[in-house]
Symmetry: C3
Subunit: 366 residues, 3 copies
Amino acid sequence: MKSTASTLIHLAHMNPAIEVVDSLLRGVGQVMFQNNPIAGLLFLVGIFINSSEYGLSALLGLVVATLAAYLLGADRPLIRNGLFGFNGVLTGIALSVFLQWNWHLAVYIVLGAIVSTIVMVGLAKLLITWDIAPLTAPFVLTAWLLLFALYQFGQLHPTKLIGPMAVHPGAAIQTDLQEAAGDARAVGITAASLANALFRGFGEVFLQDNLWTGVVFAIAILVSSRVCFGFALLGSALGGLTALVLGGDGVTIYHGLYGFNAVLTAIALGGRPDGLACPRRFLVPNWWSTIYAFIGAIFSAIVFAAIAVALSPLGMPALTAPFVLTTWVFLVPTADFRALQRVSVAECASTKSLVALPTPKSTRAE
Amino acid sequence: MKSTASTLIHLAHMNPAIEVVDSLLRGVGQVMFQNNPIAGLLFLVGIFINSSEYGLSALLGLVVATLAAYLLGADRPLIRNGLFGFNGVLTGIALSVFLQWNWHLAVYIVLGAIVSTIVMVGLAKLLITWDIAPLTAPFVLTAWLLLFALYQFGQLHPTKLIGPMAVHPGAAIQTDLQEAAGDARAVGITAASLANALFRGFGEVFLQDNLWTGVVFAIAILVSSRVCFGFALLGSALGGLTALVLGGDGVTIYHGLYGFNAVLTAIALGGRPDGLACPRRFLVPNWWSTIYAFIGAIFSAIVFAAIAVALSPLGMPALTAPFVLTTWVFLVPTADFRALQRVSVAECASTKSLVALPTPKSTRAE
Amino acid sequence: MKSTASTLIHLAHMNPAIEVVDSLLRGVGQVMFQNNPIAGLLFLVGIFINSSEYGLSALLGLVVATLAAYLLGADRPLIRNGLFGFNGVLTGIALSVFLQWNWHLAVYIVLGAIVSTIVMVGLAKLLITWDIAPLTAPFVLTAWLLLFALYQFGQLHPTKLIGPMAVHPGAAIQTDLQEAAGDARAVGITAASLANALFRGFGEVFLQDNLWTGVVFAIAILVSSRVCFGFALLGSALGGLTALVLGGDGVTIYHGLYGFNAVLTAIALGGRPDGLACPRRFLVPNWWSTIYAFIGAIFSAIVFAAIAVALSPLGMPALTAPFVLTTWVFLVPTADFRALQRVSVAECASTKSLVALPTPKSTRAE
């Protein structure tokens, strides 16, 4: 893989168009903390395997969010490392998953991508006060506002995934693992149902409810970082397991919805979120930080349930809010726990950047 | 107009009672960022044109909020420039619009006005960390808490404007512009219906659903600042237009409810919010800042829909929260966009004030 | 009482086990700002009087939260003064009050207690920016997330206290003071019903709906600080009175639910919150600070109603969020009110601690 990366780097130096493509692909990779164009490309492939509509929406969000950062004059190294792409990608996909396609939706995605970039810079400025990164909060905030509004606008048509529901204390929950309510194929805990839960947990990070997309995503992370892959896999497993133990809905677990926030939380707390802050982890790895990351992954699954309940009267999705909230809650105090060693975001800040970044690998290679 | 202002200034110097009245009128003007007693007086006239009950509630909130600031020993120049009046004015009106008049309501307004002053000083302290102003957030927070509580208190009687409603994904929306559902007079896009949408957008800033009140408000801004007037007018138009394009409810658009947050957002991002920070804009005007202000105005209309949906199960109003949220989101990152030039709140801070202010015009005249 | 305390201090020096017990008891005391093991012990006695199940849950939360702080390497003086115990105590009790007992609940309490400690350190770091303390916010945030999630998990069974309800603007409210709807014994304002409202207001701070528990709690505070006792008593009275005047539900008032947030707010603003910040008050006492504390207590009762309404579609409890919100709102601006004199949290900060603490009395005694 290294030789392919080196080839890309050489190409990027020779051709500005390829530099642009490289920046955009890093933007896709950053959704899972991978500042790596190959990972980004594989993520895109995975999305197109599931749906070309979602793939095109992802590309629209990616290009507009990055372009907005460029036109407004955001920090160049941050743009070059894809940090204005990932919220746009997710905003594009989310709007396309929860709204039916029409031209109004295209305009909506363009507006959402622009705002996601504005929120990204704003949140980075706010959060640097406490040495934490915005994560995917710009996507969550922007997409929530745009999705909530759909009930007021006749030109926006929700898909069947939007279903408001009142809560009932005594409602029975069907805990058997299965693809859909009343499904006969994979009822209960089988290799197939567990594999679905595990890998769809990767897929749902990009809102892709597809086993093979999840497998491609897992490979993409493995290509980029084995440490991240390990934490992501354990994260997905722990998220699903937490729901299984507490008696969560079997269809929800099967589709990886208890896994995706745990995947991201486990990478952020235990893995190696390269591009977002420094070429090191947020936390220096030791036994305590590993246990801490796993407790975070478990808690993120419960936070997913909590946010899903809070939004159920509106029928709105939790998106990656559980990951963002859990990771913030677990990262802020780390400097004051002697058992954990924090890598400061400021420590690796360049003189120019808000949330500093190493120069991209293409430059470092020289 | 200048000679009238000069006369007032002279009077203010000679008579402490007139200085008090001048401070109070500036408090009314600050609702639309106009640190100008004439604008404040015209706003009051506009409110009384619509309803003397709302006018008296506005005065009660204004006086109590300003008095509370005085008694607690808040910064004098801030009081003198009306910065403790505008949240009280809005709290008084909002409680009176959504609750039926009785003595309990009067006590409620007094308590709300006091708390709005406490929240104002607190939020100013919090937000100076990121160089932004509280805007009308103290009003929104205080009024929301007092209004939410009404369901628990038998002595507070909601008006018909409080109507909880469950959301329905497929609910048909009636998009024809009209005064009320089934109205025959102004159905569709006519000069009359557009004028109503445009000017009621001004009126609704003070929760006044009245065409002529809106016209008086527009004149008040024009008297105070032509730049503000231009941005306010375009803001109201863009807010309504956004809702029209996306298929918003025609009655809601007709009554200016998609306009009022856009009016405030456009003034804050593009206009000349004199008194609140410095005698200059938050942003130095150029083409990019103008486009930026218009995107903000458009987005504020969508945020209005989003917050209205989020509060619909409780039947609670969005108030000016969409303006506050949008303006914060768009102002925080500006220092990090090279295309935009931020005027720092701190830059014009006096040694004594939290959110600094120029000495009022009456003093500067000497 | 002093000799008993001195005896305990001597014992604590001689025996590490007693030092641990002393730290844990201070953790219970800190729920009501009492850095005092005797008060903590009396609070525990009060809880066990009402229910041994709640008492054991309180102990589980207390021990796990304190142990987590110890293992993660939090600041020792903070642990020694019980600042990692009080959120664990409340989390344990709240989960046990709103969920039926089973082994899943025990695991849930353990997880909640760990997270409450993580949130405590994180919030302390965030809030020191504005010189305020986390109060019981770590408990509120953690318990809300864990309770919201119960609707998604079949192994967690809510008690009858969880009852989702839609709001209705015109719903009649039964304002007669009484123990239960249709109760014949204590209808109306009698010595008995007022005593119940007053002392259950103390009890509900620990979610204990029991007159005699409330009396024991009141005695516990009196033993520790007469100033705190006075403010707590007036707080409880003002909270209930506010609801009575505004026409609140008589059963809710009778059970002290309008009192408990006012008790805590009155102590925090007017009393002597010893251990949490310094061996002095947050505010230097004078006539203005006393009036300010009383306005805060009154407002906290309205905020309780507001948060209860906001959470009613989910059937979730307000917990001590009204106290936290009101106290933050009233404390943040105090440095900018000349009529009030703030005691800075930083002023009494040791070089090592985030939220500094005096060395415990046992050490100071030497």
